[in-house]
């Protein structure tokens, strides 16, 4: 298939075999007679951000929920650090598209909720939570309620909740799709800093080609019916660039164009 130039760069870039944090091996998922995922294999390098990109209905959210342990695969398995996934675990944290905040709970209780479920006592978990609330830029809003916050601030709460349990793998299901364009750009810049500073593995579902190319170390393109990984792209020169100049970089523009060329026939 297409994309010869990224393929060649890819070869030179991966001479040192990357450490794999999460791997999906021959994963299938059927809903009755419908095949959502078929024999899908994919590896997620540690400390990097991998995007799952594809047209709607390609099973990217299904794959993410299988990695999270929220859905059972019909076949194949997921391994995190070499251990097979049997359900949700402390090594993975999820950021939801619709934020999934408890509307009756304050920001600090929402952020500490993951720790609360792990049985950590109140003063300790609120200490940890308030640190992450500060990190995501919501200091002063600890005792506000979700309905008092804007969409962008709500997703910061969701992000702080996922960070506060200190999981190795962060699973993000279209986290920025429900916030406005300007907030989204800010989020994408913040995400780059987060990937650079935290030694975590990010798995990021998106339907935006630009967003995927902007934030990813590795982009897995999924095609539907039946879902499979059609291509893996690893931009090479973008990480060294300043976050504000990536969008003007020729490599960025080329990759965006190529991905669109390969996806356009699948979009109704």
């Amino acid at each position: 298939m297409a994309m010869p130039q990224t393929e060649t760069v890819h070869e030179t870039a991966t001479t040192a075999a990357p450490d794999i944090a999460v791997s999906a091996r021959n994963v299938s998922k059927n809903y009755g007679p419908v095949e959502a995922l078929k024999d899908l294999s994919l590896e997620f390098p540690r400390g990097q951000l991998t995007s799952l990109l594809g047209p709607s209905g390609c099973g990217k959210t299904t794959l993410l929920k299988i990695i999270a342990g929220l859905l059972e695969p019909s076949g194949g398995d997921i391994q995190v650090d070499g251990k097979a996934v049997t359900g949700p675990g402390p090594d993975r944290a999820f950021v939801f598209q619709d934020f999934a905040l408890l509307p009756w709970a304050s920001v600090i209780r929402n952020v500490a909720f993951g720790l609360e479920l792990r049985g950590i006592n109140k003063s300790e978990r609120e200490d940890i939570a308030s640190r992450y609330i500060k990190d995501v830029g919501l200091a002063g809003f600890e005792h506000s309620f979700p309905h008092e916050l804007s969409g962008g601030m709500r997703q910061r709460v969701g992000l702080a909740r996922a960070l506060s349990v200190d999981a190795d793998v962060l699973l993000m299901d279209e986290p920025f799709s429900a916030v406005d364009e300007q907030t989204r750009r800010k989020f994408q810049e913040d995400l780059l800093a987060l990937v650079a500073n935290e030694n975590k593995t990010f798995i990021f579902v998106t339907h935006s080609i630009e967003e995927a190319v902007y934030v990813s170390d590795q982009i897995a393109i999924l095609l539907p019916r039946p879902s499979r990984v059609s291509d893996i792209i690893r931009p090479t020169g973008l990480r060294e660039k300043d976050s504000t100049s990536i969008r003007r970089d020729p490599e960025y523009l080329d990759i965006v164009d190529e991905i669109w060329a390969s996806l356009r026939s699948y979009v109704e």
Binding site: L70, P88, P90, F96, D98, A100, R154
Partner: protein, 252 residues
């Protein structure tokens, strides 16, 4: 004095004023004035007959409402959580809700006699269906992303129910309770009018038969006041248990 309270008093004054005027015209010989009814109420309160009557009426009411609330919420939770229970129980409560209660009373009397049991049954038949169906509906509509969120942070099944499903459903559960309790009041009075005249139902029936309409209206008035007070207490309980409910929810 704040404005809402002032408006509440004004609305009460308008209703009671209209009643007083209608009683003075009089619209009907069976309609006493507001002040006559209040005088009868105080007379019954002071000679103690009102309290003995309520001691009698509150028995089936309290037992019935308590059973309906505890059993209704429990069954409602199960019906909402499991399809299997839904198929098993929902039809029973839908039929119960649709059935004309007055027609069932003779049947209940034949089966359980004219004592407390029948009256408790009447209260339960009135109160339980709306509590069960509201609870089940609320539980069924818990946002999936919230329960998935709980599971992804390793909440146990119980934690998902206690920390996510019940708080999320609580506003609708409580609105079901309010409807159920008011229906329970109707049931309690209906059972005293239809099965055996005891308690407040007895005051109503007896005063009517001797044309003491002031006492009859006083009894009706007192039961309405009691129901309103009880519903207000229920609201206080809701805000005490789920303080977030008073704050309004995010729309999305």
């Amino acid at each position: 004095m704040n404005r809402p309270l002032l408006l509440k008093l004004l609305s009460a004054a308008i209703v009671f004023g209209a009643w007083e005027i209608a009683g003075r015209i009089p619209v009907s010989y069976a309609l006493p004035t507001f002040f006559e009814a209040m005088a009868a109420l105080f007379r019954m309160a002071f000679d103690g007959s009102l309290w003995t009557a309520y001691a009698e009426t509150l028995k089936p009411l309290a037992i019935g409402v308590l059973i309906s609330a505890v059993l209704g919420i429990t069954i409602g939770l199960w019906v909402g959580l499991s399809k299997w229970f839904d198929w098993l129980f929902s039809p029973i409560f839908i039929v119960m809700q649709a059935a004309p209660l007055a027609a069932l009373i003779p049947l209940l009397v034949m089966m359980y006699g004219i004592g407390l049991t029948s009256k408790v049954f009447v209260v339960c038949i009135m109160a339980m269906p709306v509590i069960v169906l509201n609870t089940a509906g609320a539980v069924r509509n818990t946002p999936t992303s919230l329960t998935e969120m709980g599971r992804s942070f390793q909440a146990s099944w119980w934690e998902v129910i206690l920390k996510i499903v019940i708080p999320a459903a609580s506003p609708v559960i409580f609105s079901g309770l309010r409807l159920g309790v008011s229906a329970g009041f109707i049931g309690a009075i209906l059972s005293e009018l239809k099965i055996t005249p005891t308690g407040v139902g007895d005051i109503i029936t007896y005063s009517r038969s001797i044309a003491d309409y002031a006492s009859m209206y006083a009894a009706i008035f007192s039961i309405i006041v009691l129901a309103v007070i009880f519903l207000n207490l229920l609201e206080k309980l809701e805000f005490y248990l789920f303080e977030g409910n008073a704050r309004g929810y995010a729309s999305d």
